[in-house]
Symmetry: C2
Subunit: 505 residues, 2 copies
């Protein structure tokens, strides 16, 4: 395994801080030792990307599609080794790692199809009208063009789908942008392996070496340096709110500000209407407990808040949900830092006035997380703004509301989230409709009678949502529409064919 950064076709040098991946499942460091890139190496990666940008921008959709399909084929060819390494580095179940590789390949091929179709470019041609009164109309032709070099920060919780060859990389390449990936330090081996696949595919496609680079860093300094590089055009990030806000501030303070597409934190409120609670409370409790625990709660779509109305069925529902959480085994989290943060945040929540601990799962050693379920009232929730913040891990907070009006009031006040779910019976459709109208103004995805975890990769999906769920709020980081975030509009006026991109001939 190559333990150095990939600067186009060149390898980084030793000399920087070294680090290893750590298996929280086996409580041990993993071979090999990885070498942080130097600032000069990060600069070289961006300079290679700047040099590659014109050639990449001039590729056809077919060329870009072929590159993306080659990446998918490369992942598939080495799926067994990749899944094994990711399983070791992230402690996510092997089947999950295998499934995520499949999802990532599907994602790469979706963007290949989008690149090939050219639909994303929104090409528009208006011919000249030389006889128009009072003024002649010139010829205008416009389309979306690539932005330039994009920095992509790998996510801790998706070693494939949101990391080295994940959604942001696929979207950026599909539009014709070079990519510099900052590997997440928690799974450097997976990143290195994916990076080699990318390097081989770029070389095979005859594209310039600056098309793809991969940088290792033991800490956060290199990422900050990267985002300040004048050659960079945009940033894609999936991670904590603190990390996202830091990147937003760095990018805004550059002499030339650039956009940061940060997916940061979400609590994804689940609303249980009284009829649904009465008719199928036990079934919902089972599904909700599974959603809370999925991936040890390390999903951006984790259901962090559950709104329940006070009714005869509430006690049974809470008992059932608490029973499921109490029965949860203690599973290893992605990293020791994430585990420490989870323990601290859950302890703070337990100590918050007005909050009751309803259930706690099994206790484990090392970085294993206890699932936890808390409850409070809407009045107490309103008194403690921290209760509205995401806790990254297998826990959730039930908010007891007096009635539907209180649930609606919560919706009016809620912060932006990636997703939100409404459970209701057919006879409650009017209440659901009124609530959904409000909730839809606060989220990127509104789900009826299902849980927020699990995001389709497709042309119609939206994985976004108002701040603080994302920095952008307008776009999506999953699905083929994500290609638009790494583009900008350009118009050619009265230009002969030689000056036009081929899409406008």
């Amino acid at each position: 395994m190559n333990p150095f950064s990939l600067l186009g076709f060149r390898d980084g040098a030793p000399g920087g801080a070294t680090f290893c991946a750590f298996s929280t499942a086996e409580d041990r460091e993993l071979e090999p030792v990885f070498h942080s890139a130097s600032a000069a190496e990060a600069d070289l990666a961006v300079e290679l990307a700047v040099a590659a940008a014109p050639r990449l921008a001039a590729t056809s959709g077919a060329e870009r599609g072929a590159l993306l399909r080659a990446l998918a084929a490369g992942l598939e060819a080495q799926a067994a080794a990749l899944a094994a390494r990711a399983h070791l580095e992230t402690a996510l179940p092997l089947a999950r790692c295998q499934g995520e590789i499949g999802r990532t390949c599907g994602q790469l091929r979706l963007f290949a199809t989008e690149a090939e179709s050219g639909r994303w470019a929104d090409a528009r041609i208006e011919l000249a009208q030389p006889d128009r009164q009072p003024l002649p109309k010139p010829d205008h032709r416009s389309l979306r063009r690539p932005l330039g070099p994009v920095a992509v920060f790998g996510a801790s919780n998706f070693p494939f789908a949101f990391s080295t060859l994940g959604g942001d990389t696929a979207a950026a390449l599909a539009a014709g942008n070079p990519v510099v990936v900052k590997a997440h330090p928690a799974h450097p081996g997976t990143a290195a392996h994916c990076g080699q696949i990318a390097r081989a595919a770029v070389r095979e496609a005859g594209l310039p070496e600056g098309t793809f680079s991969l940088l290792f860093d033991a800490g956060h300094g290199l990422g900050a340096h990267l985002v300040r590089h004048p050659g960079l055009a945009a940033v894609g990030f999936t991670g904590s709110r603190r990390g996202g806000l830091a990147l937003m501030e760095l990018a805004a303070r550059r002499p030339r500000p650039i956009p940061v597409f940060a997916e940061m934190s979400a609590v994804n409120p689940v609303f249980l209407l009284p009829g649904a609670l009465a008719a199928r409370g036990a079934e919902i409790a089972t599904g909700l407990a599974a959603s809370i625990q999925l991936g040890v709660g390390q999903f951006c779509t984790n259901p962090g808040l559950v709104l329940v109305p006070r009714s005869a069925a509430t006690e049974d529902f809470l008992t059932a949900l608490a029973g499921r959480i109490s029965a949860a085994s203690a599973e290893p989290m992605l990293t020791r830092d994430i585990h420490r943060a989870y323990v601290a945040a859950a302890a703070a929540r337990a100590a918050t006035s007005g909050v009751r601990l309803l259930a706690r799962g099994a206790t484990g050693s090392g970085a294993r997380a206890e699932a936890q379920l808390f409850a409070t009232t809407l009045a107490d929730f309103r008194r403690e703004p921290a209760l509205g913040e995401e806790i990254f891990g297998p826990c959730s907070l039930v908010i007891e509301c007096a009635d539907l009006a209180e649930m609606r009031a919560f919706a009016e006040e809620m912060e932006g989230s990636l997703a939100s779910c409404l459970f209701f019976q057919p006879e409650e459709i009017e209440s659901a409709r009124a609530l959904a109208a409000v909730v839809a103004t606060r989220v990127g995805r509104l789900v009826a009678n299902a849980f927020p975890t699990g995001v389709e990769v497709s042309p119609a999906i939206v994985h976004g949502g108002p701040y603080p769920a994302t920095s952008d709020g307008a776009s999506t980081s999953v699905g083929s529409r994500a290609i638009e975030r790494f583009t900008r509009l350009v118009c050619w006026q009265s230009c002969p064919p030689e000056l036009l991109p081929r899409e406008l001939h």
Copy 2:
């Protein structure tokens, strides 16, 4: 004329600072006295907008189209009075004011057509696939939805097309967003008149009063207060770089940051290739001089930099251009402040080392501007970063380049601009192609053999460009695509028809 702010259907109260419009052409204050809105009145305008947002978001495209068409009809019905007042307040020629009303009506109707077509919403429907392996696929339906209340800052230089009922207002309403306009203090009478037309149209359409408000302020404090209001969802601004940057910073520092679409400053470089210079230098000089002086140089697309290669034809071209500038009459600028800033900036430029004054037009009294033409070399331009900054007024800077390679080097280094123009002969197409490939990465609109002033309003136009031309760089502030800036993507998963917007049934 109503001298108070319009807070929905209510009028503002006296009590704040008062101010008058000022005619720079006649060097006198204009009746009536206008009253600045208080902070509480600005809050009320936003609160009315917040209250109106759900109803507006639920309107059909036909309803929004009818509102926009009513605004156009209202402008047309009162075009004579509007043009007369705008002429008085801005010193722009009456014919220009009349023409701009026509353009603004066309713009409102273009957005009406866009709203009616629904094309902008990009509705996507993916039906469920319950039998899909390994997991069933849920039903997903998504489209663009309005963002919420939008603050629009009127521009000094376009009292109609970029002000009260201008492009940002039309785009925001077309997507279903309420609008709070901060009137430009230089043309309050025009704004008041347009505001009354809007109020009447909103009332006639049976829409909530918060659909439209108009705020007066003698200074900048109210605008800053407005942008900080938690109910606001986005900002549209056309004006100075300083003003745009101030709004960007305010918006980024809110507890919930919001997007600012600021069109700020551009120098719109014009490249003259040697063959074109030799074949038709005199003709280009005539057209260029007219473009520099159009609207007393107070256009965001003003040609602020002119790149010429050193050749036998250069001297004749510069003589012809200088002759036209020398013959320019002194015309009144929009405001006394703008005139003062122009005089100071031109004086600083004249005093810059390496800069020669090539020509100066007639001198006039009061706020009348002398047209000015400067020249420098690329080497001197590179030494003085201030030479790359926009001077708002009838002046331009010729940059003499040794050869095409130097022109290409300038293009590689140039900042983002709204537009850029290449003049070339058919036999120079290869040089033009190579230059255009670079320039197209720096601008929103690339023009062949024509001048940058004059922007079509159409589906294919792009009036945007990388920072510092705009804050956003990816979108356009003119043409029907501008509707997208005031929208965000939302997806409904597994929702019954009752929970879906009508576009997704």
